[in-house]
């Protein structure tokens, strides 16, 4: 490397570092967490080694049983065992008490263990539980990613849909994208005339109107969402106004419904649509529309054939921004929506905070990222005038 290229590397080094620390590392960790499967091997090292020799047919031999009991008896951190129990219980209900029961009783068990363990709990005399342990002694697993698509692996390795009562994620992803698309449509429909109006203003009026767009933009999303919570209440100002004007005669439940989610999300995201549109509209010289008029175009033709196509880059840039941001929305639906209006991020938070299943949280995040990426690529092809820097 000559001196110049070394200098060049040094110059981009901060950017490179930022990319690695802020982008590659977290993404890589998330992708890894979604397939990482260390729990069984960590808690049952001897059993895992012994099961490696087992064909998977019938029952394993005494060596596996003995290794298992030895693992149960070996003094190890409860946390490692807790990880094992939670991991297996996620795969199959009831494993928590089966494993914990065996661990509590392990002290008093007599060899041969292939007889005393099944005597303790008949489950240990059946191949399924050993197959489960063998399957999950693999350091990587597709369980989380499959579950994020409402699929699971059957004991024989085939991929089947989960029990309909447990199915949740396909519908959830669909709902997330439907809500996001509607929010984007509303943002375009409301943002377009607003941006046009702003672009026609000059001087003080322009500064004032722009301030009206920017001030809410600068206020935290949490604050704006909470404000909507207050405004939309049964005894809030909207219901009060509707009652006073006689539009309704009893207060309506607006909060915790889907329309409330749309309303608050569109409000929060509207500036992201208006600002790129405004930037584009500002650059369009009024002469073009006047020229079209002088050539005999009617007002609708002036708009549809001349003005609109020139503003499409602004529409597309704003729409993609609104779409991408709404797909990951969390706090606004939590505050103004019901449980049935929640999007994928709610369940990412649920698996992180409540259910303590980082594998599921990572799998959902990864899937959301991939689907959003695909959506943006698709949008880039469909929406004219959107240039994402390079052709995608």
């Amino acid at each position: 490397m000559d001196r110049n290229s070394r200098l060049a590397v040094l110059l981009v080094a901060p950017l490179l570092l930022l990319m690695i620390v802020g982008f590659v590392l977290p993404l890589g960790t998330t992708a890894f967490k979604a397939v990482d499967n260390p729990e069984v091997t960590a808690a049952l090292p001897r059993t895992t080694a012994a099961l490696g020799q087992w064909s998977g047919d019938g029952l394993p031999d005494e060596a596996v049983y003995a290794a298992f009991v030895e693992d149960l008896l070996s003094p190890q951190d409860n946390r490692v065992f807790g990880g094992l129990v939670r991991r297996l219980n996620f795969e199959q209900t009831g494993m928590r008490s089966i494993i914990s029961g065996a661990r509590r009783a392990a002290e008093g068990l007599q060899a041969p263990y292939s007889e005393s363990l099944p005597a303790l709990n008949a489950v240990w005399g059946e191949p399924e539980v050993w197959q489960l342990l063998q399957t999950h002694s693999n350091p990587y697993t597709a369980t989380y990613l499959l579950r994020a698509m409402d699929l699971r692996m059957a004991a024989d390795g085939s991929i089947i849909p989960v029990d309909p009562q447990q199915a949740i994620f396909r519908e959830l992803f669909l709902r997330t994208f439907i809500i996001s698309l509607w929010v984007t449509v509303f943002a375009v429909l409301l943002g377009y005339p607003t941006a046009w109006f702003l672009s026609t203003l000059r001087g003080r009026a322009e500064g004032l109107a722009l301030l009206c767009v920017l001030v809410p933009f600068w206020i935290s999303i949490l604050v704006r969402s909470t404000a909507w919570f207050i405004v939309l209440q049964r005894e809030g100002p909207i219901n009060a106004a509707l009652l006073a004007t006689g539009v309704i005669d009893t207060p309506q439940a607006i909060i915790f419904t889907r329309p409330a989610v749309y309303l608050a999300m569109v409000h929060v995201l509207l500036p992201f649509q208006i600002l790129p549109l405004l930037a584009v509209m500002k650059r369009i010289r009024p002469d073009y529309v006047r020229a079209a008029a002088s050539l005999g175009a009617r007002p609708w033709q002036q708009f549809l054939l001349v003005y609109l196509p020139m503003t499409m880059p602004g529409v597309a840039a704003g729409a993609v921004m609104v779409l991408m941001l709404s797909v990951g929305f969390y706090i606004t639906p939590v505050l103004v929506g019901g449980l049935r209006d929640q999007m994928v991020s709610y369940y990412i938070a649920y698996f992180t905070n409540t259910s303590i299943n980082l594998g599921m949280a990572a799998a959902l995040s990864l899937l959301l990222l991939i689907l959003t990426g695909l959506l943006v690529v698709a949008a880039a092809r469909v929406l004219p005038g959107l240039n994402l820097g390079a052709r995608v």
Binding site: D77, N78, R79, V80, F81, G82, G83, V85, R86, N89, F90, T93, G94, R96, S97, S100, Q165, Q166, A167, I168, E171, L172, Q233, R234, E235, P251, A253, I255, F256, G338, L339, R340, Q342, Y347, Y350, T352, N353, T354, S355, I356
Partner: protein, 347 residues
């Protein structure tokens, strides 16, 4: 000159570094609970009283029972909470999973506690429960029992319940006419679970789910919902201190005991054991009972006729009309029912 500067720099840096280092290791003992009036009164009569008694710093914090925070703390080895109040099933599971330290029963006196308040990793703190309540001014003829709470024909309007299967499934079966003593027998069968979810389906469109204990009070207070299940302490405070015209239905009580636990790896483990022993003593609890309807797991205070007379809201004294949450049941079926509830609620 250079030597002088660096010496001076060192003189400034040294105490700063020491201060930073000691500041990190000598944080105050931190005790965490579910907040509300219970914690406001515990702060004065238990936490700060202990701080004065032992001559140490004690701070308290509030959470909504998110166990993940504790698991993450223990796993990362960066334990910033020392004593945490947890619900019984979470305590037992956390004990098995190694996130709570074993209680040092040579420091904590077990004899003063009710038998169900003694566990490897938990010291019985106080009984807690939820009941249905409503505003009598808005609904003069309100529901009388759990079946009425489910009756959207006779009692129209929104309801509010705690997010999650625990207490919701029990309530559903009670509303469906299952006797209190049979609730867990029924719920332990697949048909019983189906039955509970089917019952919840009946009012699904009329439920606003809450996560923080303050929410159901806000919802009823603002008229957002008509009838809500809420923590008894919160309802009693609204009635007693804010003079709200609320009626609570003791026959809908679902209750249990919360436990004091010590987070594994806490740098204050020994102090925490001493503090837990002290704040579960009769003398301290009497002080708190004088200002708040606690229902402590301390036998002496809980069975004291004077305390009982002054505190008609002590949940452990409503055992005859309440359903005691079955800890073992929730340890066994908790994960499964959580997953099913999440799927049910989302669709």
């Amino acid at each position: 000159m250079t030597t002088q500067t660096s010496t001076r720099a060192l003189l400034v840096a040294l105490p700063l570094a020491t201060a930073l280092a000691t500041g990190a290791s000598a944080r105050d003992l931190t005790i965490v609970g579910f907040g509300g009036g219970y914690q406001d009164t515990a702060r004065e009569h238990l936490f700060q009283a202990y701080a004065a008694h032992a001559g140490i710093g004690v701070t308290d914090d509030v959470y909504n029972g998110e166990m993940a925070r504790i698991y993450a703390m223990v796993e990362a080895g960066d334990v910033t909470w020392d004593i945490v109040m947890v619900e019984a099933p979470d305590m037992v599971r956390g004990c098995e999973d190694g996130v709570f330290a074993p209680i040092d029963w040579s420091v904590v006196n077990a004899d003063k506690l009710i038998p169900s308040g003694v566990h490897d990793c938990g010291v019985g703190a106080t009984g807690f429960g939820v009941t249905v309540f409503y505003d009598t001014e808005r609904s003069p003829e309100g529901p009388k029992d759990m079946a009425d709470f489910w009756d959207i024909e006779q009692f129209p309007g929104m309801r509010s319940m705690r997010t999650g299967p625990r207490m919701s499934l029990e309530a559903a079966l009670m509303a469906d006419g299952v006797a209190r003593e049979d609730v867990y027998t029924v719920l332990a069968t697949p048909e019983g679970v189906d039955r509970a979810f089917a019952k919840l389906d009946e009012i699904k469109d009329h439920i606003v789910w809450w996560t923080a204990g303050a929410q159901p009070l806000q919802f009823v207070g603002s008229g957002e919902v008509e009838y809500a299940m809420a923590y008894t302490g919160r309802i009693l405070r609204a009635i007693d201190e804010e003079n709200m015209p609320y009626n609570m239905l003791w026959n809908t009580l679902i209750y249990s005991i919360d436990f004091w636990t010590v987070v594994e790896g806490s740098p204050h483990t020994e102090e925490a054991m001493r503090m837990i022993d002290w704040i579960t003593d009769a003398d301290q609890l009497r002080n708190q009972a004088a200002v708040w309807p606690i229902s402590p797991a301390n036998i002496e205070v809980n069975s004291d006729p004077e305390v009982q007379a002054a505190n008609p809201g002590m949940v452990l004294n409503h055992a005859d009309t309440g359903l005691f949450i079955d800890t073992e049941f929730w340890i066994e079926y908790g994960d499964d029912l959580e997953a099913r509830f999440a799927a049910w609620a989302a669709n």
